[in-house]
């Protein structure tokens, strides 16, 4: 890329510019849009986060069951630790690492931002997501093989997550 201004022009302008900040991007208030992480005490409404994380654990388990993968097999395919998948599936208070969420999103071809919200890694005020996630988690049962209804519920939730990121 060729710069359309010269070094001298930039020096003159920088010298005469007012001494102000120039930062642009996303503010803290919009963290959910960029996947920013806040200190945990600033994450409001911890109850909702736990519920979302519970739904995240159920969601990952159902996707894994749909694909008939063991925890170890999923860990290997997604290049994450099996221990972390177990914690995600079983412990709603567990906060997965961002990399793990991204790897799982990539493996299951899911929108990373949606999974970041669902995992509690990013803060969300998305009430529709919270409602759909709770409904999905409540309807899912841990049978060895996905029932037809569970598969429909899973597919419905996948569609919701994909659509919510468009």
């Amino acid at each position: 890329m060729e710069m359309l201004v010269s070094r001298d022009w930039l020096r003159r302008k920088i010298e005469s510019d007012p001494d102000t900040d120039n930062d642009a991007g996303w503010p803290i208030e919009a963290i959910e849009n960029i996947g920013m992480f806040l200190p945990s005490e600033l994450v409001s409404d911890a109850g909702n986060v736990v519920e979302l994380k519970h739904a995240f654990g159920v969601f990952i388990r159902q996707l894994r069951r749909r694909d008939q993968l063991s925890v170890e097999a999923l860990a290997e395919k997604a290049r994450v630790e099996a221990r972390e998948i177990r914690l995600i599936e079983l412990d709603p208070n567990y906060k997965p690492r961002p990399r793990t969420v991204h790897q799982l999103a990539e493996h299951f071809a899911m929108p990373p931002q949606a999974l970041m919200k669902l995992s509690g890694a990013t803060v969300t005020r998305d009430e529709a997501l919270q409602e759909e996630a709770q409904k999905f988690a409540a309807k899912s049962d841990d049978l060895s093989k996905l029932s037809r209804q569970e598969r429909q519920d899973l597919e419905g939730f996948v569609k919701f997550l994909v659509k919510s990121q468009k």
Binding site: T20, D21, G25, W26, P27, M36
Partner: protein, 210 residues
């Protein structure tokens, strides 16, 4: 590893009043990520710890201290930029340290009425090193990162045949700069809860002709 050298420019050292040679590179690379992880982040984290110890850790305080990007996953953002054709990253380096970073996408569309729907370069993030931020450091070091990055964004826009169109969301402390100095159209606060600015073709020409 760093990207290709776009050009050698200068930043004004506020401490000495003298210009210091700086390199603009694109894309940003692993050395810039290492700088952020090794230099930027510890400073920002220390400030967060300070606010925490003083029981003043609030979202508002983070904003006032310009810690809005303290928790950004920079390495992933930069890696994403390097893997996608519609993303580009720029870094300004001087004295062996990354002084500023800019992440842009070339898949944005204009909202300003005279150019609505036309493609533009969207600045997703423009950040200076913590020691260059007035809200972070009482005696900020280098001045000029924003001017160089803006010139780079306009140059990229022209190269992409977007005629200089650029869009961005300004942080509150930077709104006056983009409106009054760069001359961008102020389209008000949008659904991101930030003020959105857009540079039209005419405004880009005016910026370059200043």
């Amino acid at each position: 590893m760093s990207g290709s050298l776009i050009g050698t420019f200068d930043l004004l050292d506020r401490r000495t009043g003298k210009f210091v040679e700086a390199q603009l590179v694109s894309p940003a690379g692993s050395s810039n990520v290492a700088d952020i992880d090794g230099s930027w982040r510890p400073l920002m984290q220390a400030r967060i710890e300070q606010l925490r110890s003083e029981d003043r850790l609030t979202i508002g305080a983070l904003g006032e201290s310009e810690l809005q990007d303290a928790h950004w996953r920079w390495s992933e953002k930069i890696e994403m930029s390097s893997n996608r054709l519609d993303r580009q990253s720029f870094a300004i380096v001087t004295e062996g340290a990354t002084q500023g970073l800019m992440l842009v996408t070339t898949a944005g569309f204009a909202k300003e009425s005279s150019q609505h729907g036309k493609p533009l370069v969207m600045i997703d993030l423009l950040a200076t090193a913590p020691w260059n931020r007035r809200g972070f450091d009482a005696a900020p070091r280098f001045k000029g990162v924003g001017r160089i990055m803006m010139a780079a964004a306009i140059s990229l826009s022209v190269q992409e045949e977007f005629r200089g169109r650029v869009g961005l969301h300004a942080l509150p402390q930077a709104e006056a700069w983009y409106r009054d100095r760069v001359g961008m159209a102020d389209l008000g606060i949008d659904d991101t809860r930030m003020r959105y600015f857009e540079l039209t073709e005419d405004q880009a020409r005016a910026f370059l002709a200043q």
